[in-house]
């Protein structure tokens, strides 16, 4: 591009030593850039950033603080839960033991009650049997006596004879016994 080259040269001639193309490196500008940049950096760090970022940094600090708090509380809660669990486990064990004991006691009590009830029942049965036997014997005796009396009355009527009552009774009793034997 000869036109461009001539253009550069013309500009160079016009402004004697001024850099005429953007591709030239003027080392003096390093110095100025650093001066300006560092000055701006220091001034902003002193006067601008703290004010602008105050709220954000405070919020960040607060959040960090809250996070730490939350972590601590979480750890505490975990410890409490662990203790609670341990207590629950021990309580469960105790309950089991108590229940088992109560069951055993109840079982023993039941056994005893049953045994006593059975015993009483047998006693009652025994007594009843005895009474029945006694009543039966008595009834048999009474019946026999009445039968004798009836027989005697009947015999007296039949024979129309006056008989010695004691002798007759023996006679009839012997007859009845023989009749029983004969059966």
């Amino acid at each position: 591009m000869p036109g461009t080259l001539i253009g550069w040269l013309a500009v160079l001639q016009e402004h004697q030593a001024a850099p005429a193309t953007p591709f030239e490196v003027n080392f003096g500008l390093f110095f100025w850039t650093w001066v300006v940049f560092i000055a701006l950096f220091l001034v902003l760090r002193r006067f601008a950033w703290p004010v602008i970022l105050k709220n954000t940094e405070e919020r960040e600090r607060r959040i960090r603080h809250q996070l730490a708090d939350a972590e601590k509380m979480n750890a505490e809660a975990k410890a409490l839960l662990e203790e609670h669990r341990r207590m629950m486990a021990s309580a469960k064990g105790q309950t089991h033991a108590l229940l088992a004991e109560a069951k055993a006691v109840a079982e023993r009590e039941r056994e005893a009650l049953l045994a006593r009830a059975r015993q009483e029942q047998e006693q009652i049965l025994e007594r009843a049997k005895r009474e029945i036997a006694f009543e039966r014997d008595r009834a048999t005796m009474q019946l026999r006596r009445e039968a004798v009396d009836l027989s005697l009355a009947a015999a007296a009527k039949l024979l129309e004879a006056k008989l010695d009552s004691e002798a007759d009774r023996r006679l009839v009793t012997e007859f009845l016994e023989s009749a029983e034997k004969g059966q």
Partner: protein, 288 residues
């Protein structure tokens, strides 16, 4: 009928630095030219400390950044004192500052990023304002100067390496140059570590070099495109009325589009410079 000027000369002249400053023919009294100071010889290096047009705009950019932040800070303080909801300009500035701090600096540097946030925030807003100043009429882009972007890249380089050295210690820092090769030990590992040394060193230097060239290139290229497009108007100034105006209108539309793109690029390049610096700092901080 106009005489077509040398477009290349105009483009180079407009994007180059100068020992002058002014608002053109509108305000002739504000047009300043100053003499170049004598050169300083620092060994093989010839340094001339004369402030140039770009220095003026650097100072202007820094002043505007400070003004913005200071006014925003005062407004925020007033709003907070009055317990009013944050609003308007101050709130917008606060949101941008917080974005740079949280999303660029802390998000990429990682743990301990708050320490570097003031540097990254200053870098971002300083570059942003420098980029945008070039879009104003008679403005100039200090970040379209290799010396300026180079100086900023060197601050980034020093921040990356020195903070890395302080965090990692001498041994840890040496491992960023002579890395331990996974799966290799003994003499073979040592040989590989030594062989990697020059590559790692080049890598360290390439990062700031890329930062400097990327910012410079992006800022300069936009101006080249805009000025070249405008050059079309003068190049075809001798045509009859209808095509002349047609070319003028089409070119102006294109330039408007490029200008809008340039606003985006100004933001993007400030973001990229701050982001990459943060990423590099973060890489060094968490090197194992």
């Amino acid at each position: 009928m106009m005489q077509a000027p040398n477009i290349g000369e105009v483009v180079m002249h407009h994007t180059a630095d100068a020992y002058s400053f002014g608002l053109g023919e509108a305000f002739p009294s504000l047009n300043l030219h100053w003499e170049r100071w004598p050169d300083l010889h620092l060994g093989p290096l010839v340094v001339n400390l004369t402030p140039t047009k770009h220095v003026v705009f650097l100072v202007l950019a820094a002043g505007l950044v400070f003004l913005t932040m200071w006014v925003a800070g005062r407004k925020l303080e007033q709003q907070r004192a009055g317990e009013r909801a944050p609003s308007g300009f101050a709130n917008a500035v606060e949101a941008m500052v917080l974005f740079v701090r949280d999303e660029i600096a802390i998000a990429n540097i990682g743990h301990g990023g708050e320490k570097f946030a003031p540097y990254i925030m200053t870098l971002f807003f300083f570059i942003l304002y420098s980029n945008l100043l070039g879009l104003l009429p008679h403005g100039s882009t200090p970040t379209g100067n290799l010396a300026v972007t180079g100086a900023l890249a060197i601050t980034a380089f020093l921040t990356i390496e020195i903070s890395g050295f302080l965090t990692l210690g001498p041994g840890g820092y040496l491992r960023t140059i002579f890395p331990t090769i996974p799966g290799l030990s003994g003499p073979a590992g040592l040989a590989m570590s030594l062989a990697m040394g020059p590559i790692e060193l080049i890598g360290k230097l390439v990062k700031p070099f890329a930062l400097a060239v990327r910012l410079f290139g992006n800022m300069t290229a936009g101006h080249f495109v805009i000025l070249s497009l405008f050059g079309l108007i003068f190049l075809f100034g001798h045509l009859p009325l209808v095509p002349r105006w047609g070319i003028g209108i089409v070119t102006s539309g294109l330039v408007l589009g490029i200008m809008l793109l340039e606003i985006f690029v100004a933001l993007l390049q400030a973001y990229v410079f701050a982001l990459l610096t943060s990423v590099f700092i973060g890489l060094m901080q968490h090197e194992h």
